[in-house]
């Protein structure tokens, strides 16, 4: 083990050179660590984002089948006006699907329109008072009115709220506990125009059936984002005229035959990667000629793509830097060996084995690398922070551009209108915004990172010594010592 002692004597005697080597190695390893940090942060963020963003499966009427039926009936009997009849979703079907293992939560949506009674609707110049249900899909109910009622299980599960486009500003949202109550959440603008606040009541008049007046208690006020109003298009009513109630109340407005039904039921999936198998399992539980199950994991896919690109980039950095570092270090070691030819010659003339000479160089570099790993570990966080934020900014910009350019036809394909106003581009916009939020990279140096860094340091040292050792193996002591 004399070579270890020699290595130490050499590193210690040539302090200046050792310090320089440590600095060069630290710089190389710092870049490796930065790559490792970004990569591990990207993996962490991807997992987090996958859990946060999630994906949905929506149970709704089978529009395609209904459309076909309408066409065939219109061709057979020309006298009657063709009518698109959509079968409301049965909640008993929904509860069967809700019991499947991958379902995290269920949101029942039932929308209708009623007419204002005790208040005035908010009107915008483009609004003609007719409710078109937004471009995303038509309402299944034929009724029309000046106030849109979005019946839900809970507002927190509604797309507008989960995507943060709408926010509860006062009171609370609709929850599952509001089932079978007359509680309502109204928009801020409507509230201020009519001087309404939490605890007040509003009265609406049903637009179908017996046109009964119904009194509702305001439990919360929400603010709709301008994004949703601008993307809703000129044909829809002002978004401020949308009220959220429990789906049971919305069904009451529609009429008694709608009890126990819904326009659609959205299931939030626990593991977005397995959304397809949930759909398959769900299909077995329903009558597919009347109902359809559609999936929406576009948010998940966007986040995944965004994070994958960061991860791929980080991977490339790690390998590029490792390779470049190995080459740089190998060149340094080669130069070092040339300059130490006489020493090697003396060792050889004493009968030292060549592998022990290589082992001495390796040990010397190892001593340098150990210190360099410590320095890089301390300094790498700084580099990682800088690089991480830069990367995320860059990749999310790219991602947003690419998704909005390609567009998502049909707004995730949610037929029947489940309260997702502004499907299509509006939906995409909100998804990207969400993705940006989720991709904040959490960069911190963990023990695993340091272990990985040590591994890379070891590998780089080993490889560079191996590359340079060709010189030692070929060295002839006679040529070195006798010139």
């Amino acid at each position: 083990m004399n070579f270890i002692k020699r290595a130490w004597l050499n590193v210690w005697a040539k302090k200046g050179r050792s310090v320089l080597l440590i600095l060069v190695s630290s710089a190389i390893l710092m870049f490796v660590l930065a790559g490792l940090l970004i990569r591990s942060a990207a993996v962490k963020a991807t997992n987090q984002a996958k859990a946060d963003v999630g994906a949905t499966v929506t149970l709704s009427a089978n529009r395609q089948a209904a459309f076909k039926k309408m066409q065939s009936s219109s061709s057979s009997s020309k006298s009657s006006r063709p009518k698109l009849s959509l079968t409301p979703v049965k909640l008993s079907d929904a509860s069967k699907i809700a019991k499947l293992s991958n379902v995290k939560s269920t949101n029942v949506t039932s929308s209708t329109a009623v007419n204002a009674s005790s208040y005035d609707v908010v009107s915008t110049s483009s609004s003609l008072g007719g409710n078109s249900g937004g471009p995303g899909g038509m309402k299944s109910s034929t009724s029309s009115g000046d106030t849109q009622i979005d019946g839900v299980t809970a507002t927190s599960l509604a797309t507008d709220f989960s995507s943060k486009q709408s926010k509860i500003t006062k009171g609370r949202g609709i929850t599952a506990a509001d089932k079978n109550t007359n509680h309502v959440v109204i928009e801020k603008e409507l509230a201020s125009q009519n001087d309404l606040t939490v605890g007040d009541t509003v009265t609406v008049k049903e637009s179908s059936g017996d046109k009964a007046k119904v009194k509702m208690t305001i439990v919360g006020i929400y603010k709709a984002s301008s994004t949703s109003s601008s993307s809703a298009g000129p044909m829809s009513t002002d978004p401020s005229n949308t009220m959220y109630t429990s789906y049971t109340l919305a069904n009451t407005f529609k009429g008694s035959k709608y009890a126990g039904t819904a326009d659609s039921v959205t299931f939030n999936v626990r593991n977005p990667a397995k959304v397809g198998s949930l759909k398959t399992a769900g299909k077995k539980l329903i009558n597919t000629s009347k109902y359809s199950l559609s999936t929406d994991d576009s948010s998940y896919q966007t986040v995944k793509a965004s994070m994958n690109s960061v991860e791929g980039f980080a991977n490339k950095i790690v390998w590029l830097v490792a390779i470049a570092g190995t080459i740089i270090l190998a060149l340094i070691v080669i130069l070092m060996i040339r300059e130490r030819r006489f020493e090697i010659g003396v060792l050889l003339s004493l009968g030292e084995a060549r592998w022990k000479i290589i082992a001495q160089f390796f040990t010397e570099m190892l001593m340098v690398i150990v210190v360099a790993v410590a320095i890089a570990g301390a300094g790498g966080k700084f580099v990682g922070d800088q690089l991480g934020s830069q990367l995320v900014a860059q990749s999310t910009t790219t991602q947003t551009t690419s998704t909005s350019a390609s567009g998502q036809p049909g707004g995730g394909g949610q037929p029947g209108g489940n309260g997702t106003r502004g499907g299509g581009p509006g939906n995409t916009g909100s998804t990207s915004k969400q993705a940006t939020k989720k991709t904040d990279l959490d960069i911190s140096v963990s023990a695993v990172n340091l272990a990985e860094l040590g591994g890379f340091g070891l590998a780089i040292t080993f490889l560079s010594i191996m590359i340079a050792s060709g010189g030692i193996l070929r060295l002839e002591p006679k040529k070195v010592l006798i010139s």
């Binding site: 004399n2 020493e343 009968g351 006679k478 010592l481």
Partner: protein
């Protein structure tokens, strides 16, 4: 103890060897000087008996065993000790560590014995004040004495030196040659010195001149 049989060597051209058909014998307890004009192949010859290169013709044997059979690395480690004109020492070590390192590599009998190494150095005039100083901060004569101390500390019975006094002044030369004589006579080793200084050659027990591809004894 060391014997060359029909030894021959050439660099490029077989038709023009530096020397050929060399049959010499070197005995333990004796010192030998090899003299000759520049470029005749003295260093080349020394590199062969030092185990730094292989002969092109013939063979060298130590106590009846050929060097190729012993293996050059083993031969260098156990049987021969080399002193050069320069570049003898590990520049990043003290005299003491140079001796300790050489003793460790050659697995000498006294490997690891600091006191032994220190005593040898002191005998050669490298006192306690110099023993732990970096060898680069020693004079040429002191460095060469450390190199000689190293051959004395190792067990090799054959000591070869190429112009060991080439960089030294008269006083140091005398001192160094006296030490080589002590190695030969007191330690009973075989010492072979290449030199072009007549007064160095005259000190040795035997002289050989390399001339016209042959070694001839000088008396």
């Amino acid at each position: 103890m060391l014997k060359t049989t029909d030894l021959g060597y050439w660099y490029q051209d077989k038709q023009q060897p530096l020397f050929e058909g060399i049959n010499l014998e070197f005995e333990a307890g004796q010192s030998y000087a090899i003299i000759g004009h520049s470029g005749t192949g003295k260093t080349t010859f020394l590199s062969l008996i030092a185990g730094l290169d292989r002969p092109k013709a013939g063979e060298i044997s130590l106590d009846g065993k050929s060097l190729s059979k012993i293996g050059l690395t083993t031969y260098r480690r156990h049987d021969v000790s080399i002193v050069f004109q320069a570049y003898n020492l590990f520049t990043y070590m003290s005299p003491l560590n140079n001796l300790m390192t050489a003793m460790a590599i050659t697995a000498a009998e006294h490997a690891g014995d600091r006191d032994y190494a220190q005593k040898i150095l002191e005998d050669l005039g490298i006192g306690a004040d110099l023993i732990n100083r970096n060898v680069q901060r020693l004079s040429g004569g002191q460095q060469q004495r450390v190199a000689i101390a190293r051959t004395m500390a190792c067990d090799a019975n054959l000591v070869v030196a190429d112009e060991p006094t080439g960089n030294l002044d008269e006083d140091n030369t005398k001192e160094v040659i006296a030490q080589f004589q002590r190695i030969a006579h007191d330690q009973h080793k075989c010492v072979i010195i290449v030199t072009h200084e007549p007064n160095v050659a005259d000190q040795c027990d035997h002289q050989y001149r390399l001339e016209n591809k042959q070694f001839t004894a000088v008396s």
